[in-house]
Symmetry: C2
Subunit: 351 residues, 2 copies
């Protein structure tokens, strides 16, 4: 059933003309232009016609919907994921739907346990007239592009990426997220850093460590070889790694962790040794996974990858692609710093 | 768009004759009989015809598939959920798919954030020819039946239930699960029990406490009023409740908790007081949610609601309903006891 990847028909090109240009020419908002071209939502026949006329005049190509599609009860968006725990995929589902505003849409999640199962999901979705596909994952690393055969169904990659310059991939900005964490620690007076993280075959692990070293260097600080420990994504690793770090060097005053689970394990180890967090050592996690970050004692300052923002951007991009616009490349969206108790002792400073 | 619920056309009745009877009469397995009647999967034309002839002879009604359906690339099963964290729904997705064996199928998850959104998902799925719907939730309590209008699309409720005798609802057996936990504690010598649990407006909370009291009574033991504490589903509540219990009565030797998060919070509180788990007090959780149960110190003995089993049963039932069989009522499937460190000190006893 699989097609060779060179059998994929490219989305018709409208390079140079954007949906925005069409909206401006027709004197309508971007959302109205999108609705007019994709045939969904409530619009007057006059507005729809005006937008379509301008699009044709400008050479902006869009899909002419069949009557049957236009009269259907909404758009079907398939979301493929390898994240079987749903921590990363479920927040995307709701924000993808939100991005379509009042256009009726169902974002449906399929679990890609293996390549064969994934292709089966894609074939089934195509056979049921799926309007767009978003591919996501439990990790951001490069994967194979999916194969939609000769169909023009648009695809967006979110929280994962492919080595294809024509694909659109939306990722959290790990470099910027790490910068937020490290600059926060420096600004609150920390100087002697350690790093506890996950396996280095994750791209995110490598990007975060690289960014951490970069920001420290900008402040004439450094992370010594003995103070960056990489291991499994488990609380017990955070616990063990923190004990090891303090066996070697009790002067450490800040630990940046690659996940909230690692940070929580580190906090437990420090508390047991009578080392106070954050008075003696500040700890910052990553993920803002609330069942862990808020149950940790102290609660964790952490980096939020803003999955809702990634989902909204993916949904908006898919809408543009459905309308015929061309979008490609890797887009990295900013992370946020969530300050809780583990990095700043003083309540006033935290504000 | 919503129809009154009395407008729902019932699935044609074949009461008395089961798919099993058809399989036996045709000399094939249940799976083969199902494939023959639903027109999917690989079967010889001769076998398919023999099963269909026997079904008609026995008066077993099945849906005659249109050619277009039979030639499609698989079954589309919609899974509606109110569980936006995916802890309960994602394990169901994969096990539903597994239950269909070699029949190509995609189980797709939609999040029902509110009634309007849920109806939109249902209408969209129906418009794309969904073959069956499984409704699930983040809690087991009674909900409104979904409205599939006048379509014959079969519906199964899993980890949720409706007040409709014609519906099929599949739930974990909370009474039996709690019995496993309490009998385990009694068998390992515990006599003075406490209970820390979630809000009592959850049916599961009421069933577990009722079962706990019943099992204790059978052993001439009791749970006093002061030793059953109900609060939010949060680790911090487990922590606070355990401290409160031991402020009142330091002779408690077993705490049964309504979730692993509550149990983990309780273990942390006891450790800080110098009370050893399990030597002084045994703790048993509920859920077998591994990021919590395995990160707890000590690791948690807990009750597993066996979502994979519930998913398989839901998938098999849907297959039978698609083939025309009638199934209804509330089915409660057994839970399992997972023994880790928090209930038995001695490694040998744990085996």
């Amino acid at each position: 059933m699989a097609q060779p990847s060179d059998g994929i028909e490219p989305v018709p090109s409208s390079r140079g003309v954007t949906l925005n240009d069409v909206a401006t020419a027709a004197g309508v908002t971007l959302g109205t232009a999108s609705k007019a071209l994709n045939g969904r939502g409530k619009l007057s026949a006059e507005t729809r016609e005006r937008v379509r006329t301008e699009a044709k005049r400008l050479g902006f190509r869009f899909r002419e919907l069949k009557q049957e599609e236009a009269s259907s009860s909404g758009l079907l968006i398939g979301v493929l994921t390898t994240d079987i725990y749903g921590r990363f995929s479920l927040p995307l589902l709701t924000s993808i739907e939100d991005s379509f505003g009042s256009i009726p849409i169902s974002a449906v999640l399929c679990t890609s346990r293996d390549q064969e199962r994934e292709q089966q999901h894609i074939d089934l979705l195509l056979s049921r007239g799926v309007d767009g596909i978003i591919v996501t994952a439990r990790r951001e690393d490069v994967r194979q592009p999916i194969n939609v055969g000769r169909t023009p169904v648009p695809v967006v990659y979110a929280f994962t990426q492919v080595a294809d310059a024509n694909a659109l991939c939306i990722l959290p900005d790990e470099i910027q997220g790490t910068r937020l964490a490290i600059e926060h620690l420096i600004q609150t007076g920390r100087r002697r850093f350690a790093h506890i993280t996950g396996p280095s075959y994750f791209e995110a692990v490598r990007l975060r460590e690289q960014s951490m070293r970069q920001v420290l260097a900008e402040h004439d600080l450094r992370l010594s070889e003995h103070q960056a420990l990489s291991g499994p994504w488990q609380e017990s690793w955070g616990y063990t790694a923190a004990r090891y770090l303090f066996d070697q060097d009790s002067s450490i005053d800040a630990i940046f962790c690659g996940s909230d689970q690692l940070a929580r394990g580190a906090c437990d180890a420090l508390r047991e040794r009578g080392i106070r967090v954050p008075e003696d050592v500040a700890v910052v996690g990553y993920d803002n996974w609330e069942p862990i970050a808020c149950a940790s004692r102290p609660t964790l300052t952490t980096i939020d990858m803003n999955f809702a923002q990634i989902g909204r951007y993916a949904g908006e991009s898919l809408q543009a692609l459905i309308a015929g616009e061309v979008r490609s490349g890797v887009v990295r969206l900013p992370c946020s710093l969530i300050v809780r108790e583990s990095s700043i002792a003083n309540e006033a400073e935290r504000r």
